[in-house]
Amino acid sequence: MNEQTRNLIENLMAEYVSRIDNDDLERWPDLFTDKCLYSVTNRENHAQGYAHGAIWANSKGMLKDRVSALREANIYEEQVYRHIGDAVRLITLDNDIVTVQSNFMVVRTMHTGDIHLFATGMYLDRIRIQGDTALFEERIVVCDSQKIDTLLAIPL
């Protein structure tokens, strides 16, 4: 992976976290290709080959709908995430498709001030590089635990 590709990928990762953690969710789907796969699953499902995701979307439209549902329809107490990630590990590099893995930890802070370790896990990404842009073609969020406290409103 050359330096430019690595920069593009690191920037994509940083934007992803920033748009979620800073409540800029309307711009979160823009980090995906039009036809994409975004799924929030867990280690057990992933190991068994089960395709179910608590959130499962295969188009940018579905990601936008997820955001508008959060804004317009769903009821949940005010909360924010703080993502902590580590360095991106290259898995395969195939012309304009790069597959990478990274670890994440998400701390959820409620409006009451309660702080919880909400999720830890691994991002399994297929990233499409086109010129000077990098977009997620696939992001599988594999949570270590199968348990989700209360509800999963904001994407991980």
Binding site: E44, A73, N74, Y76, K147, I148, T150, L152
Partner: protein, 419 residues
Amino acid sequence: MTDIIATSGGVKWPSDKVSTIPFQVYTDENQYKIENERIFKGSTWNYLCLDAELPEPGSFIVSRIGETPIVITRDEDGQLNGFVNRCAHRGSLLCLKHKGKAENLTCVYHAWSYDLKGNLTGVAFQRGVKRQGGMPDQFKKEDYNLRKIHVTEFSGLVFGSFSDDAPDIESYLGSEIADRIRRVLNRPVRILGHNTQVLNNNWKLYMENTKDSYHASILHTFFTTFELNRLNQKGGIIVDDSGGNHVSYSKIDPSLSNDDYGSQNIRSSKDEYRLEDPSLLDGVDEYGDGVTLQILTVFPGLVLQQIQNAIAIRQIVPTGVETTELVWTYLGFQDDDEAMVERRLKQANLAGPAGFISMEDGAVGNFVQRGINGTEEDTSVVMMGGETAESQAFRATETSVRGFWKKYRTLIEGQVPNA
């Protein structure tokens, strides 16, 4: 009646009706202990797992009845067996893995070993070492089998009971409920995935929520906006004679108007809200009866869901007075083609911990739990649609919530309440 309430040792009810519920039932430690004895270990059938999760002889899986750990096995004869997941020796957990395959079950602590029917077959060093130690002659292995429970299977669902008095499963369900389980689980299933939603509330608040058709189109905006579930759809509630089991169903009927909604000042009337990718709602009528929603419960802890093509099982597991786990199993069928699997994966967004139409249910029980803090001497009221618990041909009702309390009080107090 008052005497019976008093001698039951549990929370006192204001009357023998089921339309007024003391908040204390959600907070009282003693009540929780009584529930374990009279409900979870009482004459009930508790959902444990799917038959499909025990595919061959030697398969085992762990589950829970109330907080009691249970292991279910399929033995060499293909029969299902259930027992407390506890070694008869010192009480250690026997199966530490969630599921697997084994010829026998051996405790890691002192290697006591049991066959798949739960019979003790081996005791390490039973004769001692070099003729020293060992079990006395009067020790008989057959006195130390695993604590066995009754296990039964219905439409691929496996249930367990501690009680010798539980009726056969079909009588327990009631014929109308049994028929509607068969309707959904009408062919071999395929598991699409699992997750567990941690609810910070008493288990009963979730069961009531699931039985409460009144809230569905009010709390859950997504449902209403896309006309998946309006109170003026065709549909209704079926409550079995015991009260504990119910079905709520609806059929989309475009000929009915939604005029009743506009004047109610209900938050969920956002008709301008449209999906960017409406393929989410491209359901097919796989049962050929036009029913787009069927939510079914079996007392005390099973929910079977059909929302369009999103099929799921929810097992309600209490983990404390004010904590509950909701174990979700998302299902398809063996004969699903690729398009059907994709449809189910998409529609799975509708329900579950991140469900467009149900994520609120993970939080609303906790809103009640927090709301009643400190004023547990007060009561809640469930009078929509009357004060009894019969089947009704409309959904603006709390009849199946009252049914829950009818069954609950019958078991706790040993007498059917006025419902």
